[in-house]
Amino acid sequence: MNLQLDDQGRLRHFLDIAGLPRDVLINIMDTAEKFSGVTEQAVKKVPLLRGKTIVNVFFENSTRTRTTFELAAKRLSADVLNLNISTSSASKGETLLDTLANLQAMHSDMFVVRHEDSGTAEFIARHVPPHVAVINAGDGRHAHPTQAMLDMFTIRRHKGSDFGRLRVAIVGDIMHSRVARSQIHALNTLLTGEVRVIAPRTLLPGNVREALGVHVFHRPEEGLRDVDVIIMLRLQKERMSGALLPSEHEYFQYWGLTQERLALAAPDAIVMHPGPINRGVEIDSVVADGDQSVILEQVTHGIAVRMAVMAMSMRSSGTEGAA
């Protein structure tokens, strides 16, 4: 049974790119394309989800992601409630299921969930009543599917819908990155010609080639050659010095995206980054602000893609019986 789809193949929850068929991903991008027009209207919202209540439940703080979900929900005319629940309050004895039961008592229709533990979104989706939809806004190292879809949307805008002719390289901390995992699943589902990961061995998870279906490179000089899309990952501060990497200085020296390294890629390659960027650590400012960078576009697209996902997975009373 696929938790994410109903018996007619429509979205019920949006938890993970893995397990979703290609046509659903394409439908999300097509719908997002339509929603991106809403932003150009004089009144930047549509009444689609009027009367629906969406709760952003963030167990892990992230103002940026929460804000884009909030804006997306508001542009759909839904009522939005933001809850930041520190895990310390959870450790005071209230279990996650207790917390959820409280939120359900507020008659919410959708939970947008972020949590530091892998698998939490799926866990919550298994325990909500049938009329509640769950959107994963990032769980541990597992998945960040809306980020992956806005990246796919951005790639499609620039490179067209035939992913088969594309070479895409993801550079950086693959091991700890839920973004990378979801991007790789999405790229492979969309039949991308070649998906590469480039990272030092300390930042690659076990059996990565076999587990995720990627080509593995350790140095950008080899991996960036002729790629059409470069996705730089954020290097978390706490990983910058210690047993994983000696220093941010050394990381930039060998893995940072500079003009020289960018020149190895295809001439019309685009540079992406899920943000927030560490200038001078994973990417040179000249590249981040350069012509080939589409980093700010990604942010804009994030709203339309999240509107699409929310609208598509919001349960209607008419489909409740079927679901």
Partner: protein, 433 residues
């Protein structure tokens, strides 16, 4: 007139005595009084018809958490030994990580007393290797031995340094106490909850590499040789680990090893979908590892199959995967999971029974696990062909946390005899209606 019991017409298998024959077992009082031929003047007051069944020594389970003292919301000695009796188990060994830890005679005595009162099985204890399992200061091993512990262990808690480990092993060897070790190098397994491999990478769960087991086995084997301490390796999980133990045994080192029954069946793919019931420690590993463990059980590198019983309350598993407590409620699946290796041709029946009786009994050294005239009458009668379904209603353990829930299993205990008394009897089918 003394209490007597006759177990009639069963296939009696006692690997310790190389016995495998259809015969009768006669019990007088708490002892076995005859096998094949009744003792003089024997009058049977009770008869178990064992035709078509297997009669064997009561099973000896090297690792079962009974949760008492300290975690009675998960289980008690009474509740869990009752479940053990229904599973054909007559001797259980508890690790020292109760609360408080078993690091002084009162805890040893308490456990023995509670087990005696429940009357379902012998319960023996491992003592703590370090005080309060803190990994730093040696426990009173001499006193613990006199109190009756069968070995010492630090359970899954880390030892502060290799020097502390060395001293602890030397001191244990002084009292000829075997040390039961969980070979999981603490730094390599830090924060990990599953096998580091394809599935952990896909699910984004922090992994425990195979090397966490093999480096720790290497360290312990070296120290075993150096200190002369007898080492029992608990819950092997990797093929390479099995090979290392086999080589050490061939080199003449006095080491032994066990495996949890579920490790012989499940693999890392069973955690797909974040299945918290398959969250165990050491983690489920690859198909190659599982096959390596099976080979180790078959060739005698691994001489014991244990339940690794860890009952939990429902809430312990109703959380995001990494927050759940590891462990399976395993008593009631120990026999069927072992028998299924016979059915699939991995083990002969006598080998399977040996891994549940003579093998673990030898590690404990308490003189159970065999059928001899004059020995304490601990026996199990089971139907190797009986199919049944594991359901919450059918389980006697307070913990219902098992990935085998709802599955059809083959092989069911009919009667368990402990100290000459019937400690468990499944009602005959005809009387069920």
């Amino acid at each position: 007139m003394r209490r007597t019991l006759e177990i009639r017409g069963g296939r009696v298998i006692d690997p310790a005595n190389r016995l495998d024959a259809i015969t009768n077992v006669y019990i007088v009082g708490s002892k076995i009084a005859g096998i094949g031929t009744p003792p003089e003047g024997f009058k049977s007051r009770n008869v178990i018809d064992a035709s078509g069944k297997v009669v064997c020594p009561g099973f000896v389970d090297l690792a079962a958490r009974l949760r008492e003292p300290g975690l009675e919301h998960k289980g008690s000695i009474a509740s869990e030994t009752r479940a053990a009796a229904a599973s054909g188990i007559t001797t259980l060994c508890v690790p020292p990580d109760t609360n408080p830890a078993i690091d002084a005679p009162p805890e040893v005595a308490l456990i023995r007393r509670l087990a005696k009162r429940a009357g379902y099985a012998w319960v023996v204890s491992l003592g703590a290797l370090t005080r309060g399992l803190d990994g730093e200061m040696l426990s009173d091993m001499g006193i613990l031995k006199d109190a009756g512990v069968v070995g010492v262990s630090n359970a899954m808690r880390p030892i502060k340094s290799t020097m502390v480990l060395r001293r602890a092993m030397e001191y244990a060897a002084t009292f000829k106490l075997p040390i039961h070790v969980y070979p999981l190098e603490p730094w390599l397994s830090e924060r990990g909850s599953v096998h580091e491999g394809v599935v952990s990478t896909r699910l984004g769960l922090p992994g425990i590499p195979e090397a966490a087991e093999t480096t720790e086995i290497a360290r312990l084997l070296t120290l075993a040789e150096h200190t002369g301490c007898r080492v029992h390796f608990c819950r092997l999980s990797t093929r390479k680990g099995v090979k290392m133990i086999a080589r050490a045994k061939a080199d003449g080192l006095r080491v032994s090893a066990d495996v949890a029954a579920h490790q012989l069946h499940l693999t890392e793919t069973d955690i797909d979908g974040f299945n918290t019931y398959a969250h165990v420690m050491p983690p489920l590993r690859t198909t190659q590892d599982r096959d390596g463990l099976r080979e180790g059980v078959a060739d005698g590198t691994i001489t014991c199959i244990c339940s690794d019983h860890q009952p939990h309350e429902a809430d312990a598993k109703l959380r995001p995967f990494m927050q759940t407590e590891p462990g399976i409620s395993g008593l009631e699946t120990l026999l069927p999971l072992t028998l299924s290796l016979v059915e699939s041709g991995v083990l002969k029946m006598s080998q399977a029974i040996s891994r549940l009786t003579a093998g673990p009994a030898q590690v404990l050294g308490t003189g159970v696990g065999s059928l001899e005239v004059g020995a304490v009458a601990d026996l199990c009668v089971f139907d190797p062909e009986m199919d049944w379904r594991l359901t919450p209603e059918a389980m006697l353990s307070r913990g219902h946390n098992t990935p085998f829930m709802g599955l059809e299993l083959r092989g069911q205990v009919c009667h368990t005899v402990h100290e000459g008394r019937i400690s468990f009897a499944r009602k005959p089918l005809l009387e069920e209606h």
